[in-house]
């Protein structure tokens, strides 16, 4: 009986951890959440080791140890907030462990993302606004808006098709560069540089940069360095995509 309950508690912790890592939470928050959930179930002295590609979670000396591989990572801030709420409710005994597990499974299968059209409009508008913030002229706004929107469509499409993130970013950045080049070529835009800079802004790996630093500072060097490497590779992909267009 005791073992069954422990099993459920481990499953619950691991599921919560997986959801948080997949949605892009910081490593120390994942470890903290898992430990809190375990303590609320009377499991003291649990150990966890969290990396962006997998979680190890152990009950300690006498208990079992489990491993959970993580294959996909996106940015979904709402899921982080929801899992956090479940863990809060579990620690204040508002939810039992069974209810919490059901709730987490519901979160895992739910698609909470904004519709793609909203994201696309957001990316396009952000590019246009960046152009003004970077002291561009108002005449370049349409070009930047189109470039940013096209880049976002391409990165989403190619990522769906190939599942290789860096390739998608490379192609998207070169499409942004090409759009900017065409717009200046056809006299629809004036400053090529600023249009490209604002166009690639929606592709910038903001979450990775923030998380890499916070993980490093919290002493999670494995996750920090690997997230930093991912951010650096993304930056390189974007840079190379733009460079490809500029070199012609």
């Amino acid at each position: 009986m005791l073992n069954e309950k422990n099993d459920l508690a481990i499953d619950c912790c691991l599921l919560a951890g997986r959801l948080m890592i997949e949605s892009g939470a910081e490593t120390y928050r994942v470890e903290d959440t898992m430990t809190r959930m375990a303590i609320s179930q009377g499991l003291i002295g649990t150990q966890s080791f969290v990396t962006p590609t997998g979680i190890m979670f152990s009950l300690g000396k006498d208990g079992s140890t489990r491993l959970m591989a993580i294959r996909l990572r996106i940015t979904d801030l709402e899921k982080i907030a929801l899992v956090n709420q479940v863990s809060r409710k579990l620690t204040t005994t508002e939810l039992t462990i069974e209810e919490a597990y059901e709730e987490l499974q519901r979160i895992a299968s739910a698609n909470l993302l904004f519709p793609f059209s909203w994201q696309l409009i957001a990316a396009a508008i952000a590019s246009g606004c960046f152009l003004i913030l970077f002291e561009g002229t108002v005449w370049d706004v349409p070009a930047a808006t189109v470039a940013g929107g096209l880049g976002f469509i391409v990165v989403t499409l190619i990522h769906e098709l190939t599942r290789v993130k860096f390739f998608a970013e490379f192609i998207a950045a070169s499409i942004v560069g090409l759009t900017a080049f065409l717009s200046t070529f056809l006299n629809l835009g004036q400053d090529l540089n600023i249009i490209i800079i604002s166009g690639v802004m929606p592709l910038v790996p903001g979450l990775l940069i923030t998380n890499a630093v916070r993980d490093l500072m919290a002493g999670h060097f494995v996750s920090g360095v690997s997230k930093g490497a991912e951010a650096l590779l993304t930056a390189f992909a974007i840079g190379a995509g733009v460079a490809l267009v500029l070199s012609f």
Partner: protein
């Protein structure tokens, strides 16, 4: 006038990134306010000191501070509020100029731009960390005072 326009634009950008990163729907406006405050501090600091590195530090510091306060207020992870705000401060222009000079075989200028971009991102990181440490100290102090009063 430019200040009002900059404020509105940075608010719109932070809201857009909150949508792209799928922040909780009711907190999208809060993300926008965080991004706006970060950018306003950044541009005010750039005007005073003419140094983008220091300005980025100040901007990131304010973003993290605001995100921390909001995360305590709404009982949500801090990352939800800080990520859309940080994007505004990313040195995209410097990185682009570095890349452009590499393509044009002007490596010396490229290194200058790249080091500046690197320094700026380092300053953003330091701003985030400093704000976090400061807020932890403040919260610990407040918790201690509360327990003393209860006793």
């Amino acid at each position: 006038m430019t200040w009002i326009i900059q404020g509105i634009l940075s608010f719109i950008i932070a809201v857009s990134f909150a949508i792209i990163f799928n922040a909780p729907r009711k907190k999208v406006v809060a993300c926008g306010v965080v991004g706006m405050s970060g950018w306003m501090i950044f541009s005010a600091f750039t005007m005073v000191s003419q140094d983008q590195v220091q300005a980025s530090f100040a901007g990131a510091f304010v973003v993290a501070l605001a995100a921390h306060i909001l995360s305590k207020r709404f009982k949500m992870p801090m990352i939800i509020f800080s990520v859309p705000g940080i994007i505004l401060l990313v040195p995209g222009g410097l990185a682009y100029n570095a890349m452009r000079n590499i393509v044009e075989n002007d490596y010396l200028t490229a290194i200058a731009f790249a080091s500046k971009a690197f320094m700026t991102s380092g300053a953003i990181a330091m701003g985030l960390v400093f704000a976090e440490v400061l807020m932890q100290l403040i919260f610990r102090y407040m918790a201690k005072r509360k327990t003393v009063i209860v006793k």
